[in-house]
Symmetry: C2
Subunit: 108 residues, 2 copies
Amino acid sequence: MTTAMQLTNVLKTLADPTRRAVFERIIREGEIAATGLVQGSKVSQPAVSQHLRALRDAGLVAERREGRHIHYRVAPKGLSPLIDWLGHYETFWAERFANLERLLKESE
Amino acid sequence: MTTAMQLTNVLKTLADPTRRAVFERIIREGEIAATGLVQGSKVSQPAVSQHLRALRDAGLVAERREGRHIHYRVAPKGLSPLIDWLGHYETFWAERFANLERLLKESE
DNA sequence: CAGTCGTATAAGCAATTGCTTATATATTCG
DNA sequence: CGAATATATAAGCAATTGCTTATACGACTG
């Protein structure tokens, strides 16, 4: 079960374009250290670090320490609050997401 | 095609709990006037009006004037940026939403 | 050990947000 | 017309946000 607060957190976290870009980069790379994320980012290292903290707090990414580096990867269940919410209202979207909730349940 | 800005708008708009509650209420009621939304809301009439403006600007609701009342309803395509984005990254979610993109295309 | 690399935290600041009260704009009714 | 109803806008304000620079922490290296 996901709470409204978790959903709010996920939405807020993804709503910032810079932070979402970091998240998308992590998705594409599979696993990447903070250093790699700073390179090619428009903002400073502390800014990236703060975004990573926000992403972790929202449950969207997980980390794995390896020496001095911390490798970030997507947390599979991080988007659940969002998917759950969409699924919960699926019947209102004119059958658009007819199978979404079923797919969600199968994946648990 | 949806832009990153549209996605940002949708996410930001839904990220506020009060505004999201207004949106969910519109979903449940099907169609409801602003007055109805103010009743049972924790915030003032102007606050609700501002939330409705934000929802409309984000493309999430549409309005229909009827005399003095303005009835709000969900805009079917409003969530497209969000769904598109989820669908775009579906292959990274470990097959979790394997059919999402297909479902999306069918509904156009 | 001291130095350096990778990352996080602190402090400060401008911009944005969400609310309020007060007022304006429609629209209908008598 | 004038009063009442439904909604929107204006102005102001406290809280939050996202960034910066500066500094601290942690782990490796020589």
